[in-house]
């Protein structure tokens, strides 16, 4: 009887160990959660759908627009450089580009997290060493990111943006080209949700546009099977047959 109890106890311990081993957060040598790997783009469990390839923000989660603030919605004006700059291989920018339906790779070490998105090969190099935002830069499409740790959550704050499209919602309604202002600050919270997915929260703080910051939670599924091919090349200029949306006949 005693042997049976001991055997069950040992077996239980072994199961517990195995379970912990399979669910343990991967960590870098300095003990921080390790997000290195290839993922699907951020997806929302619910929210608005888009007639496009990308995830779009859920309007119901947004704060009210600021009275007298900068216009949030723009209508197409017939100029393709305004209506869809990517027709000219202009950048999607951030956060829009992060939501495109392509693979995303995280490469991490002690001092940096590098996020590379397959769409337009968007690359964000995020310092993790506690440095402040850079000063004196011109406004940018992808902004200026810095990261820090809050426990097992990596927090990235990105500022210094150009006024640019917030997301791809205008593919659903061409009269609702959602814009962010140059006052935008995006805060990302990244943490392991489970062994197969990362929880990814974006907080949009745009005081020229909204009355208050607002957030949306996404999930990025880990795709270790995509690591074998890595990210595919994406050179927009390679064969952009439709510059400005005008595709010449063959």
């Amino acid at each position: 009887m005693a042997k049976s109890v001991a055997l069950i106890f040992v077996f239980s311990l072994a199961c517990l160990y195995a379970q912990n081993a399979s669910t343990a957060t991967p960590r870098t040598p300095d003990g921080k959660p390790d997000f290195s790997g290839v993922y699907e783009w951020p997806k929302a469990s619910s929210g608005e759908r888009c007639r496009c390839s990308a995830t779009v923000f859920d309007r119901n989660l947004m704060s009210p627009l600021k009275p007298g603030g900068e216009p949030f919605l723009e209508k197409p004006n017939g100029d393709p450089r305004h209506d869809e700059p990517r027709n000219f291989c202009m950048p999607a920018g951030f956060p829009s580009g992060m939501l495109s339906a392509n693979a995303v790779q995280f490469v991490q070490n002690k001092n940096y997290l590098v996020i590379v998105h397959e769409f337009q090969r968007m690359t964000r190099v995020i310092p993790l060493d506690g440095r402040p935002h850079r000063k004196g830069l011109e406004p940018m499409y992808y902004g200026d990111p810095v990261g820090h740790w809050e426990g097992d959550t990596l927090v990235i704050e990105t500022t210094n943006f150009k006024r640019w499209g917030l997301d791809d919602y205008y593919y659903t309604d061409k009269n609702q080209y959602r814009m962010h202002s140059d006052a935008l600050k995006v805060t990302e919270h990244i943490s392991w949700k489970n062994p197969k997915a990362v929880a990814y929260r974006m907080t949009i703080d745009d005081p020229k546009t909204f009355t208050a910051p607002w957030s949306e939670d996404f999930t990025m599924a880990a795709k270790p099977e995509w690591d074998s091919t890595g990210l595919y090349e994406y050179v927009c200029e390679e064969n952009n047959r439709c510059p400005g949306g005008k595709c010449p006949a063959p």
Binding site: R51, C52, S53, E84, N102, Y171, C236, P250
Partner: protein
């Protein structure tokens, strides 16, 4: 050829076309109220970014040949879904569902097939 056509159709049917239209504006260029179905022979394939293009010659009952060009997603998006350039090669007979372009001279992707141009 019939089998290849079926395989091609199946491959593209497994896609959702709209998710492939990230780069240029579907609504600006194409009319989703004007679907077309084209059967013809692939003459050329450009498996390149930002969108693949393939060209199809179709022949009507009178023997008149019409040249079409169809566009799809980025090669990476397609390959990520297990669709490689071997699925469509010159000489294949294919059936493509698309939408006409707004200028009347083109056709484009519907929900299953990449967009195209005549």
């Amino acid at each position: 050829m019939k089998l290849r056509s079926f395989v091609l159709w199946l491959a593209f049917a497994s896609l959702s076309a709209l998710p492939l239209l990230a780069h240029h504006s579907f609504s600006a260029e194409y009319d989703d109220s004007k679907p077309v179905k084209v059967t013809g022979v692939v003459t050329k394939v450009e498996w390149q970014n930002p969108h693949i293009w393939f060209y199809v010659d179709s022949k009507d009952e009178a023997g008149k040949v019409t040249h079409w060009a169809f566009s799809g997603g980025a090669p990476g998006q397609l390959m990520r879904r297990g669709i490689y350039k071997e699925v469509i090669q010159p000489g294949m007979t294919v059936v493509v569902d698309g939408f006409r372009a707004k200028d009347g001279s083109t056709a484009s992707a519907e929900d299953r097939i990449p967009e195209g141009k005549k």
